[in-house]
């Protein structure tokens, strides 16, 4: 790393094989410094990968230009408020609802199940009525059972027509033997659910 007084840090990443330039830039972004850094890289493929890295890390590319046989990329590792609901290339999703059981809240005894299920239904209807955009409803464990519960049919359909995606954990659907009642395009796996949870701005768990 060469550092000139009062000038922008310049880091030479030329001659490094992919994915090394991305890994090194990630380290720079992780330092949470706010001063811009100028990177020298060999190929436009690396430039494009740095664009993706910066977008995923809420950093900014201020400038990228070809200089002779290489590229100079100026990045600003800004630390914006991550709770802000901001949709960049669809890489960050808005609020999602994560339903991991077929009842509302915790602590209800099996005897109260009907009431608790009714509450969950009311919760979903109220949430819909707020008019706030929900990007996805993710179901796992006994939460998937609401897909086969006729009482929930209308509210789920209403969410879908409001643009909410609905996904149920495939393993759970099989375990509770409700595969017939869940359309295949709504079946997903735990990994995809985790991806949603990690990239959404807010996770709501009833």
């Amino acid at each position: 790393m060469s550092e000139k007084n009062s000038e922008i840090n310049q880091i030479d990443l030329r001659g490094l094989a992919c994915p090394e330039p991305v890994l090194r830039t990630k380290k720079i972004l992780d330092q949470k410094s706010t001063s811009p850094v100028s990177l020298l890289v060999d190929t436009d493929v690396t430039v494009k990968n740095l664009e993706r890295l910066c977008s995923a890390n809420k950093a900014q590319i201020l400038e990228s230009q070809k200089v002779n046989d290489h590229f100079r990329v100026l990045i600003a590792p800004t630390s914006k408020d991550s709770s802000k609901e901001e949709k960049k290339d669809g890489t960050i999703v808005g609020p999602v609802v994560f339903i991991s059981k077929d009842s509302f809240g915790t602590g209800s005894s099996p005897m109260d199940h009907d009431f608790s299920s009714h509450l969950l239904n009311m919760f979903l209807q109220s949430l819909l009525a707020t008019g706030h955009q929900i990007d996805a409803i993710l179901m796992a464990n006994s939460g998937v059972k609401i897909m086969a519960d006729s009482a929930f049919k209308d509210v789920i359909a209403a969410f879908e027509s409001a643009g909410t995606k609905v996904f149920a954990c495939g393993l759970c659907v099989e375990y509770y033997k409700i595969k017939e009642q869940v359309p295949t395009e709504k079946i997903t796996n735990m990994f995809a659910i985790c991806e949603y949870l990690m990239t959404s701005t807010r996770v709501i768990e009833p």
Binding site: A17, C18, P19, E20, V22, L23, K26, T43, D44, V45, K48, N49, L50, E51, R52, L53, S55, A56, N57, D89, G90, T91, K165, F167, T184, E185, T188, N189, F191, A192, E195, M198
Partner: protein
Amino acid sequence: MHKDNKLTKKVKAGGCASKMSSQELASILSVLQKNNSENLLTDMKNFEDACVYKLSEDMAVVQTLDFFPPMLDDPYLFGQIAAANALSDIYAMGAKPTLALNIIGFPTCDYTQSELQDVLHSILRGGADKVKESGALLAGGHSIQLSEPVYGLCATGFVHPKKVLTNGGAQDGDSIVLSKPVGTGVALLGLKGERLLKETANQLLNNMTMLNASALEAAADLEVHALTDVTGFGLIGHLHEMAKASGLNAYINRTQVKTFDQVRGLAREGFVPAGSYTNRDSYSQFTLFDKSVPLEDEDLFFDPQTSGGLLFALKASEAETLMERLLQKGLIASLVGKFVSEKEIGKVVVQ
């Protein structure tokens, strides 16, 4: 072996990422004269996986040649992957491999005699084990000194001329089934950058070394209309070739396409191989992305696949049966979408 003498050290692009771009290839191949034998059942312009020549009314020979530089440092795994990838071209024509020849190039001067023995033995043993598993015979080969290591097979199989499956032949409304997850290119960069969890690395290596024999077998009694394997041109590229050869358009339902664990996150962080960008350049003119499709899915659907899965076109009801069987076998198969007859042809629409 010296740490600085890693198998991938001199490699610019390993595995199917080393493939020439389809645009380059098309322009180079255009100078070759078209063959006019009625016994040659495949047409070079369709970018088929292998050539098929009719020997008699009930016998056709299928031939393919496939080799590439290593995409990882373990020579035995590299041998297995290269062989599985080469043999896949035989399965992708609906045939079974019978004979295989090794083709190997190696920078012999960079290694001591004993290192060289170790590495070459391991690569060839990996290949031989896969050939054996396929039921074919390894019958010879050819080796040269080269600045960059490469390995693969020239493979031959046989099939009934009426049972040959090509890129063409898919029908309006056919479902599309893929027998392996996508994202080997992205995952391999993750492996190189030591970002893969052990489970993901195992998933990747299991799939890349897996023969496509069992996927083809699962469809043996089904009416498959068109077949290929997903390799260097990525899911979109190969779907485009299929759609074009069949006179249809392909629709991908992005949430249905199974990818390797972790790769969506890795792609988002810029672990995207050069081959994915090359494929994007070649195929974006034929591709329509819905606004809802995130960039990482685009990158993954353009991602060059090393030893990828078989891509089937068959009737929706048959596709369900095939999916059930593939999942039963433990394959990470997906029902990726469907073919539709429209005004234009060769489009790939991702929703």
